[in-house]
Symmetry: C2
Subunit: 604 residues, 2 copies
């Protein structure tokens, strides 16, 4: 492992999947997964690791330095190596890893897809965005498109021939998606067929050279549609018209008009797209009924938001692995024991307490996020594959609660971990010769797109916490008692007590904010939405630190002295002592009743 090369953490992925979540046991009863035993899943992870380090990581630097180029003829070229890597991705079957074998997919369980996604995103986030969006678009089509369209489009998207996009954002409709103004006028005499007109911005992969066709999923309004979200419909807009045999026809009236210069993910073409308005009309096919656009789009929201949280984790993991390698390599300064001996040999900076504190913060954040996201993915997977409808609903209700936290907290913490990595590298952290400044810039986007983190906080407080009159949250509180009890049984009572206080603090804050809401003090409550999400995330990652420590402690009994397991127990100790106390600080603010910033004297 070197301080400039990408590396994965396969040991930890395997720990979470097979020792903590015990997928091999859970999947034994699910027919479609019955062939996936631990050995096979491990072999797949090892192949994915090879692909991440051997094929994807090598294109990451050019992705950043060269980026995408928008040409005068309304084409966009991706950075060197992207096309070949995309081809390799589909050739090796990774594009369809989680898709059904019916469409030529590998049918991997979701936690496996998330694990592999972490590796690929960490290797080159900009590159992985194209395949992620294509998978999402294909999955949406598979659910909502007419059968003949699904059969034509989906296999081509999963084979890498065609790619996909999601076109939601407009200049005046960013966080406020229902304010969308793109128009869709029905074409007389043609079923589900419309002409679209409007402009969308921030469209990832709106135009590029990775495949033969691009399938845009576009939100627009039909004439006379009501204001707000009920007036939004969703349309399939191919770049090239598609014949009934899947052959490509004429160019459709959709075109890139510019790409953004961004802080990071330079290899991902962020396009402004013009629909219609030129000499060629822009033809779109409606999915679902008129007015169902947001319902259909939001159908895949949980997984999309989980994927963005995953980008936070992936950036964190890459940054952490790099920082550890750097800290072990870099000789600078004397050991604490010999601080005053100017003739003492210099040591690797990994020996310095301040550096170890930074590395440990990165380690525990990265590993607890990984545990949290893979646990959430497993819940989704089990829910989708059980015959027990009540259990499925219970699992999914907690997934819904977790979704804004997974998206926002993991993207915030992911960014924070990359920031710490820059500090570990010192001056070298600020220069492009080393990888961490790019990781910081790339990772920043995750706190913004797919609903800003502020929007996630409103979703958590205003919608998810209130789900089923708060019963979902209460169920979560009870669930954590199981973790606490297991920790106490394992002799980790002190940590369990600390976390118990954190959980209670979270509960008290939830009650306080619910009380404000019931008294009609909505502004005061919403003011605390973001701190509340951070509080929840802080406690939740603490739960995962403890849960992993319990598993590791049991393993240590059989593997005395094993550094990996011992490190997991250290993780939890560090988290409870140094990070969890932030919960107290947040709760003080949340419950302070302070509304100073709402005063009209400000920002006027």
């Amino acid at each position: 492992m070197s301080a400039t090369e990408f590396s994965t953490d396969l040991r930890d992925l395997r720990f979470v999947l097979f020792e903590q979540l015990k997928l091999q046991e859970r999947y034994a009863n699910i027919e479609k997964y019955e062939d996936f035993d631990e050995e096979m899943l491990t072999a797949i992870l090892q192949e994915a690791e090879k692909f991440a380090t051997g094929v994807i990581a090598p294109i990451n630097k050019d992705a950043d330095r060269i980026g995408c180029v928008h040409h005068p003829d309304a084409t966009v070229t991706t950075p060197p190596g992207f096309k070949e890597a995309y081809q390799a991705l589909s050739d090796a079957g990774w594009l369809g890893m989680a898709a059904s074998p019916d469409f030529g997919g590998m049918g991997l369980p979701l936690p496996m897809a998330i694990s592999i996604g972490e590796m690929y995103t960490g290797a080159c986030m900009a590159f992985t965005i194209y395949s992620g969006l294509t998978r999402s678009a294909a999955s949406l089509l598979a659910t909502w498109a007419p059968e003949e369209m699904t059969e034509l489009y989906v296999p081509k998207m999963l084979s890498g021939e065609w790619l996909g996009t999601m076109c939601l954002t407009e200049n005046a409709a960013g966080s406020d998606v229902p304010n969308c103004r793109t128009k869709a006028v029905p074409v007389e005499g043609e079923d589900r067929t419309y002409h679209l007109e409007g402009e969308k911005i921030f469209i990832s992969g709106g135009e590029h050279d990775l495949g033969e066709n691009i399938i845009h999923l576009v939100l627009a309004r039909v004439p006379g549609a009501p204001a707000g979200y009920k007036g939004i419909s969703i349309f399939v807009v191919p770049k090239y018209m598609v014949g009934s045999d899947g052959s490509l026809g004429a160019r459709n009236g959709v075109q890139v008009v510019g790409i953004e210069e961004k802080m990071g993910i330079h290899g991902s073409a962020t396009c402004t797209m013009a629909f219609g308005g030129g000499s060629t009309p822009c033809v779109g096919y409606r999915l679902g009924e008129e007015g169902e656009g947001l319902k259909i789009m939001f159908h895949m929201m949980n997984e999309a938001r989980l994927s963005v949280g995953l980008q936070g984790l992936a950036g964190a993991s890459a940054a952490y692995n790099n920082a550890v390698a750097y800290a072990k390599d870099r000789i600078q300064g004397r050991a604490v024991e010999k601080l005053l001996d100017s003739s003492a040999e210099s040591v690797a900076i990994v020996c310095h307490p301040d550096v170890r504190r930074m590395l440990m913060t990165m380690k525990v954040y990265t590993e607890t996020m990984r545990s949290f996201l893979l646990t959430t993915a497993t819940r989704i997977d089990i829910a989708h594959n059980t015959d027990d409808a009540a259990e499925a609903e219970r699992l999914m209700s907690i997934v819904e609660l977790y979704t804004p936290i997974a998206k926002a907290h993991c993207s915030d913490i992911g960014f924070e971990v990359t920031r710490i990595a820059v500090q570990v590298y010192g001056g070298y952290g600020y220069i492009g010769e080393y990888p961490v400044e790019q990781l910081l810039r790339d990772t920043k986007i995750a706190s913004i797109y797919e609903g800003t983190n502020g929007i996630q906080a409103l979703d958590l407080l205003g919608r998810k916490m209130r789900a089923k009159d708060g019963q979902v949250f209460m169920a979560w509180m009870q669930e954590t008692q199981v973790d606490l009890q297991q920790a106490r049984d394992a002799g980790l009572g002190d940590m369990a007590d600390a976390l118990d206080k954190g959980v209670n603090t979270l509960g008290a804050c939830a009650m306080h904010l619910a009380g404000l809401g019931m008294q009609g003090q909505l502004k005061g409550a919403l003011l605390q939405a973001s701190p509340f999400l951070t509080l929840f995330g802080t406690v939740l990652l603490g739960v995962h630190a403890l849960r992993q420590a319990v598993v590791a402690k049991a393993k240590l009994a059989e593997n005395a002295g094993d550094k990996f397991y011992a490190g997991k127990v250290r993780n939890a100790e560090f988290y409870m002592a140094n990070i969890l106390p932030q919960a107290v600080a947040l709760s003080k603010g949340i419950r302070s009743g302070d509304e100073s910033c709402l005063d009209d004297v400000l920002f006027s």
Copy 2:
């Protein structure tokens, strides 16, 4: 004010300088400042504001997009407009604003120079680095160079003809400066003259096209010098040799061999410099005695570190002003009162509680950092201009204590404010069309150079807290009691009580860490150095929030309803309720005794 244009906060600068610090009164007794009354100083600030917005800010975008270019003939060109702006800077006298009139300077008090520095740095940080280093180098020469050299060099540096650098860092001597390996061999028969050989990295302004000559101040070792800091001497190395009349002679043997690709400050040429080793020897003149290099270089450390803290403030201020303008402009989403009314008009995002929380966080951080840095600058200034040696020593001892906090906390918080600004802008925050992503990238360097923030924390805990057996810190604790009493007298008792607890928490942590030190548990103590610095900074900015509220409350009695003053009281309320509680969280970690991350099982 627009969301894309740079703007300053002159109202707040004037509040700090004239209402809070009352410079006009303090300076009435200092002979060299007696001409500077409030009216004159205000006029100078207004001129500086015009210069910042009219001359410097316009070059900032190209500074980032085009940056510096290193050519094959070992020259470096700065971005478009830099040369003209640098000329304008010197023509208008700003280059010598704080320098003595003996050298053609304006002789402005230090807090004025810091105020103007904030504006210029916020307008274009990369540009301002050249002048800052030149001023520092000139100031060092004025103190340490032989008279004839001072008279030749300093006026040319303050007139913009020549520029200056500081050459400390080497590949194996970053944070560990005393490990410097550049050699300086005495030239026989010539007084103070040496031939240098070695390579320095990360040299800001090492080569460029802004002036006729560049004066490098270089750390190197003479043959037989002892190991460590006592073996370091300092040398003046001009790019072109200087005749006794100040005329330029032959090229000296110093040359740029590369510039860094960086995350930000692209307009600042970060050079790798080769001294000697070619056909032309590299001639250097020693300042002071052999072995005095670090003493001489560190002579200006306080101001240099204050300047880096100022970069944090400047980035924060620019980001905050931009974000407020954007939040007032950007229409998106419905008002909280009409959340459920889908026909309601959209409002400016400044109305949304979550956005107001972000803006308020930025506001109070920016304004308290400004208060802190200008207060510190005033102390330095008074200390340098009083006949009362005991008072001067008292003032400077607190300045020494503050210095690592000013550098590290203000650079960390400055970065955090730019991060929040990106969130306020949402998707637009991530693209280069708007200014905040550049501010984030530019500001990041401040936490790294001039001693990383980790090094600052070690300086605070290991050196400054122990100064005079802890008496300096104790004196600071007592000083805050004056602020608390004034706040109670002003009817701000609740806030004073909250802050009092914070101060006591800080004191308890200081005692705890001192105790560890005395017991020889050095590693455990150093582990908490960074959290301790953050804790100190958190409490200190709270003191400034409260102090400003006291001043503003008195003003409100005469100016009922004044929004600016009312906003200052709100600042303090917000800080005590939402930010100060972090002190509790930090203190829990600091006093936890947790040393989990020191375990050898980790990072091995």
